[in-house]
């Protein structure tokens, strides 16, 4: 893939795409009637959230791929997606309350969606902590793959349990907004912005995988010396 799509071009396209998105967010999309200017946070909040969610799915794909094929490439991919996904998830938790406070008057609530997002954040932390603290270097990949798999199963269970929970418990009226009555220009903006963030995500993952490879090369050379 790297040969077909040079990373420099990837970066250029990402930056251009982001600029286009920003233009659409601030100059093209109309202002929302009830929420006002603050609603423009939604475009990046949504993009960050969807990407963070998918990212954990990629962590799972990489983890299962590693357990099956034992290739370093799949492990690199899993780790990179976890790290970058975590950054995106932090972005979600930052933009969410900043949007919620002016619009709904509260910073946070334990409604279904927010609770899942927080759990997802914890799952990222669990994975990254494991990566940082494993003492035996030969075990890291397998152990992480196991955790990545269980974490992904958790997010599936989470999704289903929350759908059930919603039918049982009265939900605070929050976040009902995004898909209700969006102007087509807003939809276009949503998709363009989401695309930009996905592009950014994959760019960062590629850089991160590159670092993993160099690190392995360094260890290999060091061992030659030892």
């Amino acid at each position: 893939m790297a040969k077909k799509f040079p990373i420099g071009a990837h970066l250029a396209i990402t930056l251009a795409w982001i600029v286009i998105s920003l233009y659409m967010i601030f100059l093209y999309a109309p202002q929302e009637l009830t929420m006002g200017e603050v609603q423009r946070i939604f475009y990046i909040h949504f993009s960050l959230a969807m990407t963070a969610l998918f990212a954990y799915g990629f962590v799972f794909v990489g983890s299962i791929g590693y357990l099956w094929k034992r290739s370093k490439a799949t492990d690199d991919f899993a780790f990179a997606c976890a790290e970058v996904g975590f950054v995106f998830c932090c972005g979600v938790l930052v933009t969410g309350p900043l949007w919620a406070k002016p619009v709904w008057g509260i910073w946070w609530t334990w409604d279904a969606r927010l609770t899942s997002t927080f759990i997802l954040w914890l799952l990222y932390i669990a994975y990254l902590m494991l990566r940082a603290y494993v003492t035996n270097p030969g075990r890291t990949e397998s152990l992480s793959a196991v955790v990545g798999t269980l974490g992904f199963i958790t997010s599936i269970v989470d999704y289903m349990a929350i759908r059930w929970w919603r039918t049982q418990h009265p939900q605070p009226v929050i976040g009902g907004g995004p898909s209700s009555g969006l102007d087509p220009r807003m939809w276009a903006t949503v998709f363009v912005t989401w695309g930009a963030f996905l592009c950014l995500f994959f760019y960062l993952v590629r850089v991160r995988i590159g670092i993993a490879r160099v690190r392995r090369e360094v260890s290999r050379l060091r061992q030659q010396w030892a």
Partner: protein, 222 residues
């Protein structure tokens, strides 16, 4: 099958000699319940509504304590490597350790329930069947996760922190659904509602138990 029994009995026997794990789990659990009593300034009505949640929090913390110790001992004595080298399939090791963890946690839970019944003047007897079923199923899933994460954490530097960090986000729904179901059972809800709760806990616990069983070999290998 014999391997499962061997490992299970070994863990029980080791524990019987020192009784460290079971005692610390019980003491810790009771302390949690005790502290909760003073954290909230509520009347009896509200306290009773919070009781199932409180119990499950106590179970959760006691459990993590127990799972940590269960693998810490193995690690210290190099038993983990020995067991891995022995011609026992990882599945059997998992089940053996899971059963041991279940016994320890189950025992601790029983004591905690007894103490809670005493302190809150609350009788669990009317709903005992449902309560016991929910608690068993929830503990099964929880212990399965604790067993595999205990083994994972045993390979890390900060294992006392690593295990809870892994366990709590993943086991979250087992705890919440179990607590919710117990709440329904204890307040004498319609049996259909309670049965729904049992089914949900069973479903989620089963998913995690099977997943942990299948993934365990990857934790032990090498």
């Amino acid at each position: 099958m014999r391997a499962v029994w061997t490992i299970f009995v070994k863990d029980l026997r080791v524990e019987w000699r020192t009784r460290e794990t079971a005692v610390s789990m019980v003491v810790f659990g009771i302390l949690v319940i005790f502290l909760f009593n003073f954290s909230f300034n509520t009347g009896r009505e509200e306290t009773l509504r919070m009781l199932p949640g409180l119990l499950w929090i106590a179970f959760a913390f006691a459990g993590v304590l127990g799972f940590n110790r269960s693998f810490a001992a193995e690690r210290e004595n190099g038993c983990l490597e020995a067991v891995t080298l022995a011609p026992i399939d990882p599945g059997s090791i998992f089940v053996g350790k899971l059963l041991a963890n279940l016994v320890f946690l189950g025992f601790a839970e029983a004591v905690m329930v007894f103490v809670a019944a005493l302190w809150y003047n609350f009788s669990f007897v009317p709903a005992l069947g449902a309560f016991a079923a929910i608690t068993f199923l929830g503990t099964l899933g929880y212990a399965a996760l604790g067993t595999i994460f205990g083994a994972v954490a045993a390979n890390t530097r900060m294992r006392e922190v690593m295990l809870p960090a892994l366990q709590f986000p993943v086991a979250f729904w087992i705890l919440v659904l179990a607590s919710d179901a117990c709440s329904d059972a204890l307040r004498g809800a319609d049996w259909k509602v309670v049965w729904g709760g049992i089914e949900r806990v069973a479903g989620v616990s089963l998913v995690f138990t099977v997943a942990s069983f299948l993934l365990f070999e990857y934790v032990l290998e090498e």
